[in-house]
Amino acid sequence: MKIIIIVPAYNEEKSLPGVIRDLCDHVPHADILVVNDGSRDSTERVARDLGVMVLGLPFNLGIGGAMQTGYRYAERNGYDIAIQFDGDGQHVASEVKALVDMLQQGKADIVVGSRFLRRGEYRPSFFRKLGIWIFSTVLSAILGMRVTDTTSGFRAANRRVIEFFSRSYPEDYPEVESLVLLHRAGMTIGEVPVVMRDRTEGSSSITPIRSAYYMIKVLLAVFIDLLKK
């Protein structure tokens, strides 16, 4: 079973060493691939010095384009399982096993690590809660199953999904949209409870003002996806 961990990184020179060390400690049998999405800092050099595989994009494509580059690498090099793991340090490497286990049991084509399945560990603000609720309600209705953490970027995908994503992967805010695309392609989605850390370095790309815009844009994209052939 060939496993690859795809770590998209945009200006993550500070958090990357910790992330890679964490992955090496907890998932030693997997290959690690850092996709440097045209960072302006020394992310690429830091990644190379850490001795992991690096794909360097010539300019910033955004998270969707970067992630797809990783999937295309996984597709070409015959990987059976691909794991998406953020380069900013919010995902916990020891949780990878839970995702892979569920995938290997054949219960789903893609397994998403969810912050919200376990009660009481994550306390978001009111507006965040509202956004999460809207997303999960809309997505649950479309997918015909209950999903709790639609924006989670911590995922494990099997070969079918790797092949699908290497052909088509949404661009701007791909997490939510990709679930709809997968569902329409007849793939099954599973969720596993995970713990996530707060960011250690840098700041999240999602600020309060942007989150409303983000939500409208994503919902619009999802509805457009439903209209597409």
Partner: protein, 120 residues
Amino acid sequence: MDILKALAIAGSAVLLFLVLELIRRGRLKERYSLLWLFSSIVLLILSLSRSLLEFFSRLVGIYYPPSLLFLIAFVFLLLITLHFSAVISGLSDKNKRLAQELALLRQEMDEAKRLHANAQ
């Protein structure tokens, strides 16, 4: 009215001339020039022939015939910009593919170099 007619003729003639000149010099690909060519010819014909302009105006219920010229120009501009949006979407997709391919090839080359160095 004659001044207006002269202006309309001059305007559409200049447009047609510019489009033809750009095509002739290879600055505008034929594929993207068709709509421009077509719209400038239609505008020129309608500017030249008052009776044709009045006929089409009556057909769609426009009381002041010269506004038909504006309407046609506006519709063509909409079509041209829509066409450009579609072209840009295609280009940005190709651009993304190229960037991804470049990253994948560069990695393959580094890998091959490393293997070669190790073999020696």
